[in-house]
Symmetry: none
Subunit: 164 residues, 2 copies
DNA sequence: TCACCGTGTTTGCAATTGCAAGCAGCGGGA
DNA sequence: TCCCGCTGCTTGCAATTGCAAACACGGTGA
């Protein structure tokens, strides 16, 4: 019972490897792991760490994500689609703007969580769709944001270019 | 071994945890790991396995992918790169929170653009990513957000909102 | 027959993970 | 003052990872 999903990922790796028509040792070399260890992984005898998994994915030239999903390390459909990552990757923002956005996002998550916990006691059916009946952002609210937005406190203008 | 990026992921976890305003032990319990181990992870003394990483992500209610990217375990190859899309897809937010985030994002984009036009004359060389850290969000700023965050589900809000 | 090269597998073992228990500091109440 | 609860940190220690070396088996050529 020790390693429930490891077997499946081992099989998956072996499948991928065989489809690529490379030997265990070749993949081991490409991935930078030892052949015996790879053998054990493929047979589900070992639970590789994330680092090893990542290297194997590289060796197989497949997506790390695919492997993690197989390993059960990422919820297969991870719908959050990751606002944080998107913010971090967005080159159209300054570093400070990113920080603010992330903080706001986190605070939202926190509030939502607090609410969820609260409602979980009552086990109340929760409606997501609310009648949207109000302007989301009044002027003064955005005004309050400005000092945090582009600011460039010490001329930190951050221009990594990524034309997109 | 240097474990180059472990430190950064530890910091990232600690940031996320503190922003969520939960204690190390709370997160440890939520993630199903021991407190001392989490402490060591946060300080970069240990390299958590993928499984632990995944559990921590769950405990933090953040995307596993974000954590893996931070850990350098995913090549960050195809990030959503679209903040709006990510926000829209995030089921952990209320509809109102999404609206607010999107509006803030838009306003940031505008400000940044204005700045870039201004600074394009100077073409300042990039300052490496080290914006002098400073507490990200003052209290009153977050307080200003609250009315827009989770509130107003279905018209009637004041169920138990702590009214001082 | 032997030697050689390839495949995947088994076998110890150092290094590391991850945990239970305990330690030190801080703030509040009796 | 003591006690309690909370915060994070340190300390052994069992369990596990991941590797080097050696193993078993098969195919090839001399």
């Amino acid at each position: 019972m020790a390693l429930p999903k490891v077997g499946s990922i081992g099989e998956y790796i072996r499948e991928q490897r065989q489809q690529a028509k490379i030997s265990l040792r070749q993949l081991a070399a490409a991935a930078g792991v030892s052949n015996p260890y790879l053998s054990q992984i493929e047979r589900g005898l070992r639970k590789p760490s994330a680092e090893i998994l990542n290297q194997i994915a590289k060796g197989l030239r497949i997506s790390s994500q695919a492997l993690y999903v197989q390993a059960g390390l990422i919820e297969d459909r991870e719908p959050p689609s990751d606002v944080i990552t998107a913010i971090r990757a967005d080159s159209h923002l300054t570093e400070r703007q990113r920080q603010v956005l992330i903080d706001i996002y986190d605070s939202f998550r926190k509030e939502k969580r607090a609410e969820d916990e609260q409602t979980s006691q009552n086990a109340r059916p929760q409606r997501d769709s609310e009648p949207d009946d109000e302007q989301p952002l009044p002027e003064d609210f955005l005004a309050a944001l400005e000092p945090y937005a582009a600011t460039s406190r010490n001329g930190n203008v951050n221009q990594e270019t990524k034309e997109g």
